[in-house]
Structure formats: C-alpha cells, structure tokens
C-alpha cells in the first residue's frame, strides 16, 4: 500500500459570519472549512481515499454568491491520498473469518474479501474460534492476524463512497506474517 501526496484544486465555501477583515482569521476559516470538506468527502473514484490535507498552497480571489452571501474561494492544496490498484501487494488485518473465506481490513479500506478458492493450501477449521490453517507451513489466519495479500480486483461503490476489493494469496511470499 502506497500513500500518495497529490496536489489538488478545489473550491471552499465560506459562510459570511466567518469572514473577517483580518487576513489570518479568514485563512483559518478557509483551512477549517477545507479540512471539514475533505473529512466529509471520504473518497472518490478518481483519487481514492482522502486521508489528510498537508498544505494549503494558494487561495485565489473569492467570489460572492449572490443568493446566499457565501464566498467561494478556489484553492490549491496538497492532500495525502490512498488509491489501491490492481496487482498491488497490501498488508491487512483479518476482520472476520467465515467458512467461504476471510474479510480483511487495510487502513481505510474495508470489505476486502479473500475467498477460500484463492488460498487453496489453507483449510477452514471450526474450533472455538474459526480459522484457516495450512498444515505444511504451520501457519494460520484468525481474527486479528496480519496478512500480506495481492489485489485481484477492485470495485468502486458509489453509495458507500468506498472501494470493495477481492484478494488472493496465489503468488510467492504471500500469506500471514
């Protein structure tokens, strides 16, 4: 998983009561609003997950919206993003173990499914805690285990504003660590 620092353009809408003749307070207003916007936006198909704004590069001339009195500032900022891509190798933690496979989590990405068909040397074992065990390598995957896996496919879910992913252990050096 690789995080990226990308420069982005956007608009920040500032409510009239946050406007202040002293420049610094206005800047604070813009920053707070930008942080809030990014936190709400969560992710997009184009950029992946928005994690944190690191710098506000420039603020252009604001435009007043006539009906509401809000001021719109076009801004350019740096943001740390995370966009998973197919074929990438990621680390994740086991979230749920089911008979047909395992659900993994990796940072902001939830709903990563590792099907039992994609880890054929691991067998499902139902004991007090369900787990997948490989007898030959003496390794196991249960709730909380850390797993290194490869991304088999990704789907953007608009209603959830997030990605769903399929994982595989087919390949060298993949599996629980």
């Amino acid at each position: 998983m690789v995080f990226l620092e990308v420069e982005m353009q956007g608009n920040v809408v500032v409510h009239p009561d946050q406007l202040d003749s002293k420049g610094l307070l206005l800047r604070k207003g813009i920053i707070l609003r930008l942080l809030e916007d990014i936190a709400c936006r969560k992710a997009s198909q184009e950029h992946g997950y928005y994690i944190a704004v690191t710098a506000l590069n420039s603020v252009a001339e604001g435009r007043v919206q006539e009906l509401t009195g809000d001021v719109v500032f076009p801004v350019s900022f740096n943001c740390i993003t995370l966009k998973p891509s197919k074929g990438e190798i990621l680390l994740g933690t086991v979230d749920k173990v089911l008979r047909h496979g395992i659900f993994l989590k990796s940072g902001p990405i939830e709903n990563i499914f590792l099907s039992e068909k994609k880890m054929e040397d691991y067998k499902f074992v139902m004991s007090e805690e369900p787990k997948f065990i490989n007898d030959r390598q003496n390794s196991r995957m249960e709730n909380g285990s850390r797993v290194r896996f490869k991304v088999l496919g990704i789907k953007w879910m608009e209603w959830d504003r997030g990605f769903q992913m399929l994982a595989t252990l087919t390949g060298d050096f993949l599996g629980p660590i």
């Binding site: 707070l32 197919k86 190798i89």
Partner: protein
C-alpha cells in the same frame, strides 16, 4: 473498462493523475498523521470534530504496520533506498514490505525484474 484494466501496479502502470504525485511510505505517513493530530488538538476546541473515520483508520493502520518509529530512521530508509535508481512507487513498496531476499523483492515488485536482470549480465 479498458482504462481501468490498464492500471496495474504489477507493471508499474498507475493513473496519470498520480505520475506527478509523491509516494509516501507507511512510516512517513505515520509521522505526518501524528503531527496533524497534535495540530488539530491545538487548533480547534473539539478535535474529534475534524477527524474523519478515514483519518482514524489510516492512522491506526500506519501505526500498526510501520517498521520504523523514529524520524531519523525513516529519513535514512528513504535515503538509502533512493540511491538505487528506483521509481517512487517501487521505493515505497520496498520500504513498506521490507523483503528479505532478492526473490521476495521481485515477487513484491515485479517491475524490479528488469533491474535485477541488468545486474546479473
């Protein structure tokens, strides 16, 4: 669909918008997010207000998976890796996954094959 198919990390094909972007390793992100958390606590009265779920989950994730904790170590890792003519993406993947052998490294980052082959000849 075709454009989507082409984005494949194994061949080092990533989207255009990311070509100019800077890749960061988990440990670097951990440092940045730590500092961001401090800043937010100072800046606003209610720090939980600006913290998104994405932020929190990523923070937990990088703290759990980053191998290097202190700032100097992180700097050194980047410096040592950057001596080797790697692309930003390759560098970050290696820094994150810490492979122990050449075979493991190539399995993690298939685009390294070219370099490994050039070294052998």
């Amino acid at each position: 669909m075709s454009a989507e198919e082409e984005e494949n990390a194994a061949d080092l094909k990533i989207g255009d918008e990311f070509l100019k972007a800077k890749c960061l390793m988990n440990c670097e992100v951990a440092l940045i997010l730590d500092r961001r958390l401090e800043q937010l606590q100072q800046m606003s009265d209610d720090p939980t207000n600006q913290l998104s779920q994405v932020f929190e989950k990523s923070h937990q994730y990088v703290k759990r998976f980053s191998r290097y904790k202190n700032q100097d170590a992180v700097k050194q890792v980047r410096e040592i890796l950057s001596r080797n003519k790697l692309s930003e993406f390759e560098l970050s993947v290696l820094g994150n996954l810490c492979p122990e052998t050449v075979e493991e490294a190539i399995a993690m980052v298939p685009s390294l094959k070219v370099i490994a082959f050039a070294c052998c000849v």
